[in-house]
Structures are given as C-alpha cells and as structure tokens.
C-alpha cells in the first residue's frame, strides 16, 4: 500500500461531487459582493438558517471523513522511528472517534433533511493532513483541523440550543468533547516530540498558523459578529491552546477577512 496518499485519489462513491478549493476562492462573483457582505453568524434569526445549517452539517460530515482519512494515514505513513508507536495508537483511537462522528453526521444530516452528497465536497481539510513531516502533520490535523472542528461544533451546538433542537445540540455537544480530546492529544504530542528541537517546534507552529489562516476562510471563522463560525475560546483553552495562540488565530482571521466578500468553502 502506498504512502502519502494524494487528496485527488480519495475514494468516494457516486453520490459525492468534488469541488476544487481554488474555484471557490476564485469565484468571479466574490468581487461583486458589497464590502462586508457575509452570510452572518449562524443563528435562527437568519432567514436562510435551515439551509445554512444543512450546508454546514454536510461540510462537517465530509470533514469527518477527511479527518478519519488524515488520522488513518498517519498510522500507516510513518515508521516507528519517525513517529512513536504510542502516537500512532492515539491516531488509531482518533480514527474510531472520527468514524463514529461520520455516522452521527450522516444521521444528523438525515434529521435535517439532507442527503449524502447533496453539496459539493472540497478536500482542503485532508490536504492539511498530507505533510511528510509527522510533527507538522500532527499540528495540521490535531491542532488546526481539529481546532476548527471545536469552533464549528460549538457554533452548531449553540445553534441547536437557540432552535431548541434537542438532537442537534446533544450530538454536537458529544462530538465537541471528542474534538477537545483530539486537540489536547495534538498539543501533548507536539510538546513531547519537539522537546529537544525548538526549531522543529517553531516550524510546526508556523505550519499550523498557515493552515489556520486558510481555515479562517477570509473571515468565515473569527470573532466578528457576522462571522458564521465563532472562535470557541473556552473550549480551545480546555484543549491546550494558550490565550496568545488564540489571539493570533483571531487576529489572523480578522486580517485575512476579505472586505470584498467571500463564499464559504465548506462542504
């Protein structure tokens, strides 16, 4: 079995439709949106709340598949001298969590009236899990990607609570707890693997910062009132993020926010 599997070759059945991330960002309509025009924070007050929530839920579903694929690749791609067996055991455990999340997301999609493959899938989450250095990959997956998952799940949990949707709020709360564990795992392994290599740690954190900027989607994730996905500071602290680190993500999201508008590359 080959190592370092490219995103283009990920297996999907006929229900799925792949979209290129670049096409979303280069959509010529972006430049015509009025300055500051964003869909807004995901709340029931939005007239398109149901559609936006369904689209985000589908994005979560394909994100869970890609997180499963990313963690699974780490178990296989590295020899024990590159990545300790205990790390790969943690990744195997994470695969089990992601598989469960995928099934939950399918059922939540059905609950919301969404079909598998209803929205296009971009592979940008998995692409963050393709770094050949296990430490950089770990930060890309377990701190950037799973950190985004914390923000998304908390947003969906709050949306479920605001709608009094008992199924959505309960399931998101449960999955959120797992994501905090995954990020904590990434924080711990980053510290252990780079204990005597500050230069490598710095490179890993820089890689994470680059990925985090991409995940902030030109203001799609951030602390602005109209950012659909809100940065979940409390849960990030629980997962081992320092306040300075969270401040940096927030500042990068704000700086990267495109006043000409954006289209969320989710799903």
């Amino acid at each position: 079995m080959r190592k370092s599997f490219p995103a283009e070759d990920l297996a999907r059945d006929g229900r799925f439709r792949r979209a290129r991330t670049e096409d979303r960002f280069e959509d010529p309509r972006n430049e015509f949106l009025p300055p500051g025009r964003r869909a807004g924070k995901l709340t029931p007050d939005r007239s398109d709340a149901a559609h936006a929530a369904r689209q985000l839920m589908h994005g979560i579903f394909v994100g869970e598949i890609q997180a499963l694929e990313g963690a699974g690749r780490t178990v296989w791609d590295f020899d024990d001298d590159e990545a300790p067996f205990a790390l790969k055991l943690d990744m195997a455990r994470q695969c089990w969590d992601e598989a469960r999340h995928t099934e939950m997301s399918v059922k939540l999609g059905e609950w919301m009236g969404t079909e598998v493959g209803e929205f296009a899938e971009t592979a940008f989450l998995y692409q963050a899990a393709c770094n050949p250095d296990p430490v950089l990959r770990l930060t890309g997956v377990n701190r950037a990607l799973e950190g985004l998952a914390i923000d998304v799940f908390n947003t969906m949990r709050e949306f479920g609570e605001a709608c009094s949707d008992p199924v959505l709020s309960f399931c998101e709360d449960w999955m959120l707890a797992d994501e905090v564990t995954h990020v904590k795992m990434g924080s711990d392994w980053l510290r252990r693997l780079t204990e005597n290599d500050p230069e490598r740690r710095e490179r890993a954190l820089e890689f994470q910062r680059v990925v985090d900027k991409l995940f902030s989607f030109r203001g799609f994730r951030g602390e602005a009132d109209d950012s659909p996905i809100q940065l979940a500071r409390t849960f990030r602290r629980m997962a081992g993020f320092g306040d300075t680190e969270i401040d940096t993500i927030a500042a990068d999201a704000e700086a990267g926010s495109d006043p000409e508008g954006w289209r969320a590359p989710v799903g």
């Binding site: 979209a19 309509r29 949106l33 869909a39 149901a50 929530a53 009236g113 493959g117 929205f119 709608c163």
Partner: protein
C-alpha cells in the same frame, strides 16, 4: 402568459435566460397562475446567496432571485433545473394563492413573520411536489418548519397538515400553526 427574464444573458454563471423563462411558463401552467399575468424574473447573477421572493403589483408579478437560488449545490455556478423548478413552484403557488379570492387576504410578504413564511412555503411546496410528481424535499422543509415552529409533535402534525393539504385558506394556515 408573458415571462421575461433579466438579464437576457449571463456572464458570471452558466444560466440560460430562455431556459429559465420556459421553466417558469411550464411551472406557472402546472400551478394554475392566471394566464393574463405578466411575470418578470430578475436574477442577480452576482449574488451567490439563495433568497427568492415575489412582488405582486396589479396583474404583474416580479420574482426577485439571488443567483444562488438557481444554482446546483454540487456544481459551482452551474444551473440546476430541478432546484429552479422547486423555487419557482414555491413562489408561483404563493402568487396563485394571492390571486385566489377563496384563499383570503394575506399580508404583503414583507409583513409576514418567519413562522408565516415557513408555513406558507410548506403548503406551497407540498402541493407542487404532488402536482409535479417531484421530490419537494419534504424533510428539508420539515426541518425549516421546525426551526420556526418548534421541535415537537404538535409542530410536526401542523407541518404534515400543510404539506398534505389542499384548498386551504390563509386563515386555515394560521389556525393550523396556531399563529
């Protein structure tokens, strides 16, 4: 019935104005929109969002559509015929209701609450799905209805009454939803 589409040609999305006009005429006939109406469809191709609404002024109707409403959710900037039929079916059933004296006298769209919009949309799409023999996205609409009316059995019963209903009046809609 005269249907016009603006713009007549699209530059940013792969839409065809003639195709949209033909679909609108087809759906309007299916729905039973009066023949003497003039229907104008304004598509904002620059806008990837998906709002769509109707404005009735005398015997003319304007459907204002953000481009995303006619877009295929699987294919960026591509036209979705099935999705467009659903949007037109929903809007034109509401237009037909407004021209039906038996339906009553609902407030202007701008004065409707989100709960009223959700209820009328469910009633419109349920009828369209039956008449067209199409998948109207019943569970999608149930979820949208629940957000406005509650995640409980009473709301689900109200939704089913609306979706499966016919010959309802505006007063019936409000009564079913206890608005």
């Amino acid at each position: 019935m005269i249907v016009t589409v603006d713009p007549p040609a699209f530059a940013l999305v792969d839409f065809d104005a003639g195709r949209i006009a033909a679909l609108a005429a087809d759906v309007a006939a299916l729905v039973g929109v009066p023949d003497d109406l003039a229907v104008g469809i304004d598509v904002d191709e620059k806008n990837p969002f998906g709002k769509a609404w109707a404005l009735v002024d005398g015997r003319s109707v304007t459907l204002s559509v953000e481009g995303g409403a006619f877009e295929d959710p699987q294919r960026l900037r591509q036209f979705s015929e099935a999705g467009t039929r659903l949007v037109l079916g929903r809007l034109l059933f509401r237009v037909a209701d407004r021209f039906d004296p038996a339906f009553g006298d609902p407030p202007a769209d701008v004065d409707l609450t989100k709960a009223e919009h959700a209820a009328w949309d469910a009633y419109s799409l349920g009828r369209y799905a039956r008449r067209a023999g199409a998948d109207g996205g019943r569970e999608r609409r149930r979820y949208a209805f629940r957000i406005r009316h509650g995640f409980n059995d009473a709301a689900d019963r109200a939704f089913d009454q609306l979706w499966d209903g016919s010959d309802l009046t505006w007063v019936d809609l409000r009564r079913i939803c206890s608005l």
